[in-house]
Structure formats: structure tokens, C-alpha cells
Amino acid sequence: MKKIILAAAAVLALSPAVRAAEVGPELMQVPWSFDGAFGKFDRLQLQRGLQVYREVCASCHSLNYVAFRNLSDLGYSEGQIKAIANEYEYPEIDDEGSDTTRKGKPSDYFPNPYPNEKFARASNNGALPPDLSLVTKSRHRDGPNYIYSLLLGYEDPPAGMEVLEGMSYNKFFSSGSFQIAMVKQIEPDKVTYADGTAATQEQIAQDITAFLHWAAEPKLEARHGAGLRVMLYTLIFTVLAYLLKKRIWARLDQK
């Protein structure tokens, strides 16, 4: 039995290591509130992250899989969510058949900043700002730390490296070229937090990253909670099964 558990553990331990080495230097590590088996999101942090998204990133990046109604996860009331949705406008066709607009509703999704991909590229030097809903899961195995590092990873290029027109050097950018078509977005005091938190670069980068991780994995807390219960039940089941097995097999010795 021990051998088998060891073998299984070895397979599990090996499999991520089996993956191709990720390019780039070691990522900066943040102790996220949602890390580990019991991790939870910090609601105030998510609210600050939402503010950063809306004030800084939303002008270029969509957030296609997040609807305003989902913001109840961040601790907002129904009224607050309605008010947020109301700040956005959506195209509609009126009863006469003409184009018009209406105010956003909680069931609406965050709107795209650009009408189409060509427009988006034309506005960004040919590069396409990706949708951010899944970006903490789609870029790197250690996603949140990657996004955090990327947002702060801008520095002067190494001597001799030619950075192309419109590109910035970023030592964490995963494409391998280390040249990214997004200029540095985060500076100290780029936002003024509604809750009065000091807006250092690190604070802003952490808040937006946590928010994006919630956007990518909104069921994380439910998952962690259910995991604990499921593991407890399974543990009890396993102990009982072990005792039962011992008891039944003891019959053989009596013979």
C-alpha cells in the first residue's frame, strides 16, 4: 500500500515538472489571500481591483465573461450593482427599428472597449489587447504571480537590445521576445482608492491581479469550502472502510 501511495504521489509531483520550462526569470511572489486549500478572496481588495480595471484597463481590455450581476461576489448590494451597470450604454433597436442606446442592466456583461478586432489593433500599434477574463489561468501555471510580475516588470532594456517602435521591454513577458505592445500601465497614485488605501504601484498591481483572478475563477471560494467537506467525508469513509476490512479479514486468521 505504501508503495502505491508513493508511486501515485511521485506521478503527481512529477507531472507539473514534466512540463516545458517556462521562459523568463523567476516571478515575483505575492502571498495571495486566495492561495492554498483554505484561501479566500479579500472583498475589499477585489473592489479596489474593480476600480483599477474600470479606470485603467477597461479602455483597452474587454472582460467578456463577467456580468455586472457577478459583482455581488465582491460584496456589492443589488442597488450598487444597478448603479454600476447604469453607467454603461448598450446599443439597442427601438420600436421604429432605428439604432438607439439603452442603459446597462445587472444581466449585461462588461462591454468591449472596441467595436471589432481591426479597430482594436489599429488603436494599439497593430497589437490586440487580450480579453482579461481568463488571463490569470491562460498565461502561466503560476498565473497570478505572472500577471503581478508582468505589470511591474518594465525596466530599461539590457545594453545592446533594440526595442522596436511602440514596444516596451518587460523582463517577464512570456512571449519570449520580452517586448510587449502595452506600455507600463501602473504608476504610484494612478488611481485614488475610494477606501483610502495608499495607492503604491505594488498595491495597485496586487489589487488588479486579485480582481482578475476572481474573474477567472469565480467559484474558487466555493471550491475550497466544498473541498474541505468532501475531504473530511472521504477521510471518515476511508477510516471506516479500513476498520471494516481489518475486521472481515480477521475471520481468516481464526480459521
Binding site: M1, I4, I5, A7, A8, A9, V11, L12, L14, S15, P16, V18, R19, A20, A37, Y65, N70, S133, L134, K137, S138, R139, H140, R141, G143, G176, A216, P218, K219, A222, R223, H224, A226, G227, V230, M231, T234, L235, F237, T238, V239, A241, Y242, L244, K245, I248, W249, L252
Partner: protein, 406 residues
Amino acid sequence: MSTEKSVLQRAFEWHEQRLPIGGFIDGVIGTKYPAPKNLNYWWNFGSLNGLMLVIMIASGIFLAMNYTPHKDFAFDSVERIMRDVNYGWVMRYMHANGASFFFIVVYIHIFRGMYYGSYKNPREVLWWIGILIFLAMMATAFMGYVLPWGQMSFWGATVITNLFSAIPVVGDSIVTFLWGGFSVENPTLNRFFSLHYLLPFVIFGLVVFHVWALHLPGSNNPLGIEATPADKIPFHPYYTAKDFFGVGVFMLIYFAVVFWAPNMLGDPLNYEKANPLVTPAHIVPEWYFLPFYAILRAIPDKLLGVIAMFGSILILFALPWLDTSRIRSAVFRPIYKWFLWLFVIDCAVLTWCGAQLPEGLPLILSRVGTFWYFLHFLILLPIIGWVETPKPLPASISEAVLKGRG
């Protein structure tokens, strides 16, 4: 004891006389199936395979209720499952990680067979059906991985289906036939979904034959010698109880991954929607295909690579004859035992190589590994069987148990 029978008992007997389902189950995994009394925990993996198949079918059916097999909606429908469908994320993470755990279990199960010589006379057909199940599982998992229509889904499908173009003359026609068009497109996704739903039930049918073939000779055992009736105990309650315990331990590991690290085994890139215009720098299959992928890429010629890759699995069909020793269990085969562990290391090395770019050290290692893989089966196994002097076999299982070796 009173002779009065309860209503329930009488209803059961009434039904048994007309359709003896109870008697059937009792014969297959119950009190009427005698099993050697010395089976160790490696024998738990058969029932674990069955459990995984049930979990995959159950979670798959719930996923299929909410999944849309269309290239424009597949990715979004999976995200909808993750976000809006009640407990959709449980089903999806159980299914995606379930595939990995199914392969872990099946690999251990196959290794168990190799270690204790379970493929030898009289269990060759049982072994064959096992390999057929393994092949069907690989096809199922490959097509399932295409369904979420992420970047790795799309490009994995493109690379693997393209392999068939290496076949002379008809290769290109076969690929067009598989795709239902001239590239991996919506028709490809549609047929893969259809077949992905079908194949698990084919596997289920194969399992029936697998168990049937098992019951004629009965289970092998760690000593590999024939078990006399005196050495056997009824499957139920002894092995049912032991299997339940094994299920518990297994589920602890499986659930820990599903609930606490559900994306550990998957490729991040599959959270990006498929884009035929952007080829990923590094296309890798899921971990369970990596050794075969390494063999494919170890060989410079495409056709030979494909032949080697399929050959590496098909060669298992010939294993009962490639292994010339008549002793089943590696316990009594001092030389074979070491070479089997070398073979396991070889597979681990190939797995690692499969995830690297095919250049430099990984390429050299995958060539050595591929060479060793076939050397093991084609040359070493026959020779070891001829030259090895086995340790003396115990006269019976009971004797071995008394000597503390059971």
C-alpha cells in the same frame, strides 16, 4: 432462526427465478467468485478502473447537457458550465482531472500485469482486451480534449490528425476524411463530440469481455502460481471490503486535486480560445500521451515516427510471446525484475522528453529512450527468459504464506 421469509426476501426470490441478476452479480464480484487469498494492494486498481469509468460517464453526461459542439460556442459553453451552471465547475473539474486519474490507474494496472506476469498463459486474451480498452481510452481522451476548443485543443488535434498524412498514397485522403473538410474545423469538432460520447460505452462493452475473460482462469496472484481451491477466498466480503478501502485512499488524492489544484495537470494555454491564425510556440499533449509523443518525435522520418508511436503500444499484444519465461511473477525472476524497473524509468524519461522541445539533450534522451523501449520488448525480454535461472517456486500459496512471503 425462523423459517418465515420477509416480503422483501420473497419478492427478491420471485424476481431471481425470472431474472437472476442477484445471482449474476454474486458470481462476478460476490461470494461465488473465489479469488486467491494473497492478492496485494496492486490488485485494487482493477476496480478503481471501473470506478473511474463510471465517474467519467456520469460527469460527462452532465457536461454534455450544457455543452455546445460548435466552434463558435464550444469554449463559451465550457466557461458557462464553469460559471453559471449549478455545480458545473465540479462536473468539469472532476471530468478533466478524472481523465488524468483514469490514466494513472490504468498505467499502474498495466504495470501490475507486467510485474506479476498476468499476461501469460492462460490470460493472453484477457491481456489483449485490456490493451484494446487502453487504445479506446486514448482515443476518447484525445477527442475529449478537443471539445473545450482551446488553443491546445485545436493545435493538438491539428498535429495528431496530421500524422495520418504520413501514410503513403492514401494519407491525405484519410486526413481529409477525419477532418470532414480541409482543416480542423467545425465538422471535426462535431464528429469528435459524437465519438467522444460513443467510445466510453464501447469501453464499457470491452470491460464486460475483460471481466468474462478474467473469470475463466480466475485472478492471477503475487506469486504467479496456480491457486488451489484451498488457497482461495470468496471475493465478497474479503475483496469488496479491501477494494472499498482502496477507493477511499484513491478518492482522497483525486478529490484533493479536483478541489484544491484543479488546473495543476492541464495546460494553461487551453484557457485561451482556439485561434487558427496563432500557432503556439510549443504544442504539447496532455501528460498521459507524452511518452508516445516523445517516441514520435525521436525519429526524424515522419512515417517511421508514426509507425514507432503506434508500434510502441501494439507491441504489447505480442508481449505474452516476447517474454519467453514461463515463470509469471517477477518475485521469482531476479534478472527480469531489474529490467522491468529500468523499463519504468525509461517510460518516465520519455514522459519528460515528450514535454520538451525536440532538440539538444531532450532529443538525444528521447532517441535513447525509444531505442531502449523497443530493445526491452524485442531483444531483452526473450533473452532474459532464456538465460535467467528463476528462484524456486513455492509448492502452494499457503506454503508461501506460512513462510512469510505471501
